[in-house]
Symmetry: C2
Subunit: 124 residues, 2 copies
DNA sequence: AATACTGTAATAGTTGAATATTACAGAGGT
DNA sequence: ACCTCTGTAATATTCAACTATTACAGTATT
């Protein structure tokens, strides 16, 4: 699992990690029982502090997505894929709503938005 | 001019103010020469600190959108409408790209996104 | 047993945003 | 002149996120 972190995009680093783990579980990059990268490993790879990774992992545990095996590592929980798949669209939707809301409040039409979506989609 | 601030939406308050002023200028809610709400007035209305408003206004000055008339207030600069109109779509586009990028990285299709856009647009 | 990994936790320091408070100089109305 | 409004600025404090560092209890490998 590779984690791409941008420290300056306004989203808290621990939250970026959380989301990427969830997405990875949802699309099968991480399977049930598989051990995720250790806190130190991910911290090094993403050039981030160990505590920040630990915080993300802790919250993922509380959500029932990861299981802690003391001394060994953290593994993807049995219920994780269902949880993550169910919330995947919701995570995208929430952010999309935020953008649409601002657009609508500024007299931008649905046509303009869909056009924008289509054109920007290509450039990615 | 009414300013709607959400202290908990992750965006810095001074940045929310900045954006809303820009949008207001772009769509004509604020016209050239018009005086914008005083720092204290807006601070009270938005339940926010004076310094936070002052910071937003200061940055808007540096961008050539507001003129300071010492002792009187801040007025919309002559070049402001052009500046704001030019950057309005760009501001929306930037945030939209961010969402689309995450969606695309997670095997979500353009169809799914456009469907999502259309359905969410209604609910706003 | 020794070593090298795991997660977890405590401590202390930095940074940016936001707050509360006080102060001052300039403009305008009375 | 007086008062009230304007922006501007300095100060101190709070808070969350992040960092750096150290430490400790388990597990696995050798």
């Amino acid at each position: 699992m590779i984690c791409q972190i941008d420290p300056n995009n306004g989203i808290a680093i621990y939250e970026q990690i959380e989301r990427q783990v969830k997405f990875a579980v949802a699309n099968g990059s991480l399977v049930v029982g598989e051990r995720i990268p250790s806190v130190r490993e991910l911290a090094t790879q993403a050039a981030v502090n160990v505590n920040t990774v630990a915080r993300a992992y802790r919250e993922l545990q509380q959500q029932g997505i990861l299981n802690s095996i003391r001394g060994t590592g953290l593994a993807v929980a049995a219920e994780a894929p269902e949880i993550c798949r169910r919330s995947r669209m919701q995570m995208i939707r929430d952010r999309l709503r935020f953008v649409l809301q601002e657009a609508k409040q500024n007299q931008i039409s649905l046509d303009e938005i869909t056009t924008l979506v289509t054109t920007e989609w290509q450039d990615l």
